[in-house]
């Protein structure tokens, strides 16, 4: 007899009172009846159950009787149908996203005249068809209920005539009195708007344009001014870089031009039969950024040590180059610096060193390193520089001084929100009160517009004409894709009205293009043809200018001395941007608020990130589970205090540092964003260079008794010894391309013997198709290259936008009820493995406990996960109503109108990718997001059903696109072309990590990708035959992974 005892919890083992009491209840936990009923008032209603049943019976009968009547529905056709519209068929327009922070060439999909989806423009060599989550979500910002519906004067609605007559008078008066007219704007890359402002300045000579970006790159510009005499941000080419060293620059997520850089980075990391080389990426940083998570070597450093690290690297390189070294303090990570220096030196002219600091002293040393490495004109181009990030902090400070001194007559603010984004220390708000006439062009009544006398709302970019030039040799057009929804006016038109009484901005742009861009080319002899072509393509690119070899005559000694003066402190804070919220200008976008942060997987919140070890030392709660609230602190930085800021454990964060995201703590953004988190901008100060500093050393923390709930979409942080993600090292890969992708073996009983066989030969079901089941030669499949996926979350929002995925809000996410069809699992490495546990003689429970704890500086993997469309799907067999079925094209269909909501399928899904509609998320006041107002509903894709309460849903592999693509081919009488349609996630992936296609076509990209040795199926041992496969992640490190 077996005397072994099994227990399911420690409580049961010890048999304590609590356990005995609980074991008497049927459910160990309180059932969430309150949540189920939605409203608490329902719980104590006076209606007895029998009455309820009577009402129910009556209403069912009444409803079925009512159903007998034909419902009268009206159909209202166009009166005069625009020629280009065919009802039911989408029109695409090329345009550009340029909000002063992100830049992207895009295509806009419109249905019956309303934009519903943003995709990347593959013609662009700048962004190359990629987007990021914020660009994807910008289409929803168009339909934001909080947008201004017309101009305001003193906060009251007025008309444009009044605005024009008032402002012309004010401008003339200010000009005559010599009181300065100032235009404060975020970076303007638009050639036309710049030309217009120049004309405006000619009319009102006291006008001055001050460029101010919430996220400043002034340090880089200043450094380039010092070393090369050009205050620019160079163009980087990461695709040609074999070695990338970044000091705190999150170039994949939020640094200068991340979509462009991610594209290039993806190219440099792609491995195939023909390309067996990949870049090596070193990252020295404080917070665990997206770039850090993707780095081969990540070193956690304090932000104040970044400068010293850069100088140390300079010295290491200079020693190799035989140049003079600089004086530098010692840093604790000098071994990593030496390794980076070796790698860099071996790849001269094929490497990049960048730094995220806004201190020109550090940036000049970075320039020195790149110069010594001969990277200029190869991977870094000063001549064909970027036009992004032109914010000038010094000018901004001067402006505030002028304002305080009452020297500014008229201040016009475009595309910036300085009341919110400027540090408290600069006292912008007080200075604004002293300005004669303040004007805001912002599209909503945000923190700044609220304080302005006049608000002249600009169009949303999808409603307006415009142009842009992100790089010297790249131009882009912005064209309206919808008639302006409200009584708004383009800034260009406002300026023209105040200059000349009236004017058409579109004509103005055209004239600028005729004068300049048209003359740069000679392929199109007629301007109209040239204009049409540019409008169609959305872009106009000229070949890059050839550069003269750069000369270096700058002495770095003084800069190095300044860097050495940098004093650290016991606790330092880094201010960073999240992938969703960015600088906060689109904070009122529910898609972005609900998008899980790629690293922490939190949604809807802002918090301090801290090393788990330090949190433990300070006595903070580090267990983050569904019902566990986080500790909070009162955080004081640079003399500014916020109460009760929650603290979240972040592996990889060095001790003595904390991180806090910018873009939260909005007060006038709208009901979605208001009062979420704290405004980190207000903490910021200036660095030794007089520029805005994105870290601070004057930090103190005081414990607070409050607890705060933070919600995440992932609670298990490590792989726990499982093999969902397979990885190897680059050296192993070179030895054997199948490294890390060992065939999964299963043990089969053969009589009394057990025999190991490859998992793919074993099947849950009969391997053969049912007789009479024909496959038409279409087999949709998807391949995801984990080596290229950077986990940015673009696909999550792209899918949400394409498939009408509901926003559920923080409280529902807490209950694991987020609806995203695609999620990105992020796993940290753990120092404990099963083998190690056995070696160290640890019990299995203890081993598993330790495996759950991430390393102090973990390696990170990202794994996008959507429905695997298993060909032998476990979900299909358990559905009692056959609502989920298999198609002969390899898709797992989900039929909402058949589903009765048993959730058996979700329980039986090994990948946990099914989502249940616990509520009706549209027309439901409980979920006051975009599906609950007429404006927000305009973003819905009419080709996809809006799911109602009580049904299961999941990734359909964008079946509406497959259907459309097949039909187009049928109509045109041709075969389907590989790549002519893609799923939403694959289309705009900035790194091209996702490949979609017909795997039955042996010439298709996806079929060839499947043949690669790195390809594997997730949980292959289950024998469910998924349609989605992954490719092994390869780390470019020397040491072996095991």
């Amino acid at each position: 007899m077996n005397n072994k005892k099994y227990w399911k919890s420690l409580g049961e083992l010890n048999n304590n009172d609590e356990f005995i009491k609980q074991s008497k209840n049927e459910f160990t936990e309180q059932l969430p009846i309150g949540n189920f009923l939605g409203k608490e008032s329902l719980a104590d209603t006076k209606t007895p159950r029998r009455d309820f049943l009577k009402f129910l019976g009556f209403s069912v009968t009444a409803a079925s009787l009512a159903a007998c009547e034909t419902p009268v529905r009206k159909t209202v056709p166009y009166l005069i149908k625009p020629e280009e519209i065919t009802v039911g068929i989408a029109n695409w327009y090329a345009s550009t996203y340029d909000d002063g922070n992100d830049f992207c060439n895009i295509l806009v999909k419109t249905r019956e005249g309303r934009p519903i989806k943003i995709e990347g423009n593959k013609l662009s060599s700048f962004s190359g068809g990629g987007t990021n989550a914020r660009v994807q979500a910008s289409v929803l910002s168009l339909y934001d209920n909080e947008r201004l519906q017309g101009p305001l004067k003193d906060g009251k609605a007025t008309d444009w005539k009044q605005i024009d007559s008032d402002l012309i008078a004010k401008l003339e008066a200010a000009n005559a009195a010599g009181n300065g007219i100032r235009i404060l704007s975020s970076t303007i890359t638009s050639p036309s708007l710049n030309a217009l402002i120049a004309e405006f300045t000619a009319k009102y000579p006291t006008t001055k344009l001050v460029t101010y970006d919430a996220i400043s790159y002034a340090g880089i510009r200043k450094a380039n001014q010092k070393t090369f005499g050009a205050a620019v941000i160079p163009t980087y080419n990461f695709s040609n870089a074999n070695v990338i060293v970044s000091f705190g620059a999150d170039f994949l997520g939020n640094w200068v031009s991340p979509i462009q850089f991610a594209r290039q980075y993806g190219k440099s990391r792609k491995l195939s039969k023909d390309k067996k080389e990949m870049s090596k990426h070193f990252q020295f940083e404080s917070i665990l950024s997206l770039s850090g998570a993707n780095a081969d070597v990540r070193v956690g450093v304090k932000p104040s040590q970044i400068g010293a690290g850069v100088v140390n690297l300079y010295n290491a390189i200079a020693t190799k180059a035989g140049a003079a070294t600089l004086s530098a303090g010692k840093v604790p990570f000098d071994k990593s610096i030496a390794k980076a220096a070796d790698a860099l030196w071996a790849n001269q002219g094929k490497s990049i060193v960048i730094c995220g600091s806004n201190d020109s002293h550090i940036q000049t040393v970075v320039n020195g390193i790149n110069y010594l490495l001969h990277n200029y004109d190869k991977t870094i181009d000063i001549v064909n520089h970027l036009n992004l990030g032109k914010g000038d902090d010094a000018e901004f400070s001067t402006l505030i001084d002028e304002m305080k001194g009452g020297k500014v007559g008229v201040l016009m603010m475009h595309n910036c929100n300085p009341v919110y984004t400027s540090p408290k220390a600069l006292e912008f708000e007080a200075a604004l009160a002293k300005v004669g006439t303040s004007v805001s062009f912002n599209i909503s009544k945000d923190e700044t517009a609220d304080k302005c006398k006049y608000v002249c709302p600009n169009h949303h970019y999808l409603e307006s004409w415009g142009d842009a030039s992100p790089q010297v040799n790249s131009f882009a057009l912005i064209q309206p894709t919808i008639y302006p929804l409200f009584n708004t006016r383009a800034i260009g038109e406002s300026l023209l009205a105040w200059m000349k009484g009236s004017g058409n901005y579109q004509d103005y742009i055209k004239s600028v293009w005729q004068k300049s861009m048209f003359t740069m080319q000679n392929t199109e002899p007629f301007f109209e043809n040239f204009w049409e072509k540019c409008l169609h393509d959305g872009i106009f690119e000229t070949s890059p200018r050839l550069a003269e070899p750069l000369a270096w005559s700058y002495d770095l000694t003084a800069d190095a001395a300044d860097v050495a003066n940098e004093k650290g402190s016991e606790l330092e804070i880094t201010f960073y941007q999240k992938m969703g919220i960015g600088n906060g200008n689109q904070a009122n976008n529910p898609w972005l608020q609900e998008m899980p942060d790629p690293i922490s997987k939190t949604t809807w919140d802002n918090y301090i990130t801290m090393s788990p070890k330090e949190m433990e030392r300070r006595g903070y709660n580090i267990i983050h589970e569904k019902e566990e609230k986080m500790s909070t602190v009162n955080l004081t930085v640079n003399g500014v205090t916020f109460q009760n800021v929650p603290v979240f454990p972040q592996p990889g964060q060095p001790e003595g540092t904390i991180g806090l995201a910018l873009g939260y703590g909005r007060t006038k953004a709208g009901k979605v964003a208001n009062n979420i988190g704290v405004n980190a901008y207000s903490y910021m100060g200036k660095n030794a260079d007089g520029l805005l500093s994105y870290y601070a050393t004057k930090v103190s923390i005081a414990d607070s008794a409050e607890k705060y709930m933070i919600v995440t979409t992932q609670t298990h942080q490590t792989l726990m010894g499982r093999n969902m993600v397979k990885e190897t090292t680059f050296s192993e890969y070179l030895k054997d391309p199948k490294a890390g992708n060992e065939t999964v073996m299963l043990s089969l009983a053969n009589g009394h013997e057990h025999k190991k066989v490859p998992a793919h030969t074993v099947d849950l079901w009969a391997t053969e198709d049912k007789p009479g089941f024909a496959r038409p030669g279409l087999q949709w499949s998807m391949g995801i290259d984990l080596n290229v996926c950077i986990g940015c979350g673009n696909c999550v929002v792209a899918c949400q936008s394409e498939n009408n995925v509901a926003v559920v809000g923080k409280d529902e996410v807490r209950m694991n009820r987020e609806m995203h069809w695609i999620r990105i699992d992020r796993y940290y490495s753990s120092s404990m493995t099963k083998e190690k546990g056995e070696l160290e003689n640890k019990g299995i429970i203890e081993t598993y406990h330790e495996m759950e704890v991430p390393e102090e500086n973990p390696q990170v993997v990202f794994q996008p996960l959507m429905c695997m469309h298993c060909n032998h799907a476990p979900c299909e067999t358990v559905c009692p109503v056959i609502a989920t079925t298999h198609s002969n094209e390899g898709l797992n269909h989900m039929t909402y109108n058949r589903c009765v909501g048993t959730k058996y399928c979700a329980n039986n899904c090994p990948y946990k990718v099914r989502r249940f509609n616990w509520f009706k998320y549209f027309e439901n006041k409980q979920f006051d997001f975009n599906m609950n107002n007429d404006l927000g509903k305009m973003v819905l894709n009419p080709d996809v059903t809006v799911r109602s309460r009580g049904v299961m849903e999941k990734c359909s592999m964008c079946i509406q696109r497959i259907q459309e693509g097949k039909l187009t081919a049928k109509k045109e009488g041709r075969e389907i072309r590989d790549g002519e349609f893609e799923t939403a996630c694959a289309q705009s992936c900035p790194t091209n990590a996702i490949t979609f296609g017909n795997i039955a076509d042996s010439n298709s990209k996806v079929a060839k990708m499947k043949e690669d040795e790195r390809s594997y199926y997730m949980l292959e041992e289950l024998g469910v035959k998924p349609s989605v496969f992954y490719q092994v992640k390869v780390r470019n490190i020397e040491e072996s992974l095991s």
């Binding site: 056709p77 166009y78 065919t86 009802v87 068929i89 024909a774 909402y896 059903t945 049928k970 041709r974």
Partner: protein, 425 residues
């Protein structure tokens, strides 16, 4: 009932037809010229000319032959073939007309002399031809009054009721006869009179008890009938076959698609490209109704509604600033969770509109012809062969499918056309 129907059909249909034929005869004798002229007029002239005095782009053509210089036919042929040549030749009337209409040139028409003559014949007497198409209905009416329409179900019902009553009377009479005969026999045999049977409840119970088999059979039949009726009733919920709502504008498909033979695609232009076969926008109506301001059935009232919607002034030919969209009542309502694509069926499947929409060209008020139920869709997908020939899209696919099906014709369902996700996502 069927037989009776047939009897009626057999007797009366020829009568109706004969009556109609007799009454139609004089009309049919009308000259072929004018009938041809009507068609030519509609195709070539109606965009700019009316048959009345009303001016359109050009003058109204009522009594045109008496207005122009004589001999009218000769002059008109010259004018129609090349009006500018006539103006240049200095013909005083031609110049006058040209000046009167602000020197707008009447385009030369590529018509033969005979064709022009038939148009002129039609202009001279449009009533005669117009009646040719429209009159038979009226002509048949007198026949209606003398012979009831054979197919009218109401009449059949009355006839049946009459028969039943007749049979009941017969039964009554016969049973009376039987009773008196019995009484006579009894009297002759000297037997007492039989006790009159009282049909009370006890008797019924007694009868029911003694005839259990009959009761059981009747009960089974009754419950079967009721279940079927209930089932049919339930299945009918949400099925609106025959739904023919009144529309804001009395638009007759019969006149447009039937009599005028306008192709469906001319107005429903999205049908070959899009999933939606669009309700045409009002500017499509105006392609013809800028010219045709008066209909044959409703006169100006219904066409005026288009003008009102567009805020169009037919006299000044200008559009005003206050257009009002037309709110048509949707006839075919597919549930929102069902995906249906017209282009797939019309362009790729080469299915006629009438297959699903019925004889639209015969409907004055549009009616939902098909049940539009899922069973109906699936049924067709099971039966219909995919039009693979001549479409290279299917070439490789057909080869693949042959592996399973051999040379059998491939139906939509064999290709996966009844999978849930083809229509629901």
């Amino acid at each position: 009932m069927q037989t009776n129907n047939k009897v009626f059909t057999f007797c009366f249909k020829p009568l109706v037809i004969l009556a109609a034929f007799l009454l139609l005869r004089p009309v049919s004798l009308y000259s072929q010229d004018a009938a041809a002229g009507q068609k030519l007029f509609k195709n070539n002239c109606a965009a700019c000319h009316t048959l009345t005095d009303a001016k359109l782009v050009g003058p109204g053509l009522k009594d045109v032959a008496s207005k122009v210089p004589q001999p009218a036919e000769e002059w008109l042929i010259k004018w129609i073939k090349n009006s500018q040549a006539l103006v240049k030749s200095g013909d005083s009337y031609a110049v006058k007309i040209f000046e009167e209409y602000n020197k707008s040139v009447m385009p030369s028409q590529a018509l033969s002399d005979d064709e022009i003559k038939s148009i002129l014949a039609y202009i001279a007497n449009p009533e005669a031809v117009g009646g040719g198409a429209a009159k038979p209905k009226e002509a048949a009416k007198p026949a209606d009054s003398t012979a009831p329409a054979a197919s009218n179900p109401n009449t059949t019902l009355y006839f049946l009721l009459g028969l039943i009553i007749l049979f009941l009377i017969l039964i009554g009479v016969l049973s009376g006869v039987k009773k008196s005969m019995q009484r006579m026999v009894n009297n002759q045999a000297g037997l007492p009179e039989p006790e009159p049977v009282t049909y009370n409840w006890d008797y019924c119970k007694h009868w029911l008890r003694n005839n259990k088999k009959i009761v059981a059979v009747v009960l089974i039949l009754l419950s079967g009938y009721l279940s079927k009726a209930a089932w049919d009733g339930m299945m009918g919920i949400g099925v609106y076959q025959g739904y023919a709502p009144e529309q804001p504008i009395f638009f007759s498909h019969k006149i447009h698609a039937g009599e005028n033979g306008i192709s469906c695609v001319y107005c429903h232009s999205g049908v070959e490209k899009s999933k939606i076969s669009n309700v045409p926008s009002a500017n499509v109506c105006m392609n013809c109704h800028k010219g045709i301001q008066e209909g044959t059935v409703t006169g100006k009232t219904e066409i005026a509604k288009i003008y009102k919607a567009l805020d169009y002034d037919p006299d000044k030919q200008t559009y005003g600033p206050n257009p009002q969209p037309i709110k048509w009542v949707k006839v075919h309502q597919l549930p929102e969770h069902a995906y249906y694509n017209h282009a797939q069926h019309v362009t790729v499947g080469k299915i006629e509109c009438q297959t699903c929409h019925g004889p639209v060209e015969k409907m004055d008020t549009l009616r939902q012809f098909s049940p539009l139920t899922m069973g109906w869709c699936v049924d067709c997908h099971r039966k219909t062969e995919v039009k693979m020939a001549g479409n290279p899209y299917y070439d490789k696919m057909h080869e693949e499918l042959k592996k399973t099906y051999g040379n059998k014709p491939i139906t939509v369902s064999m290709m996966g056309g009844i999978e849930c996700g083809k229509c629901h996502y």
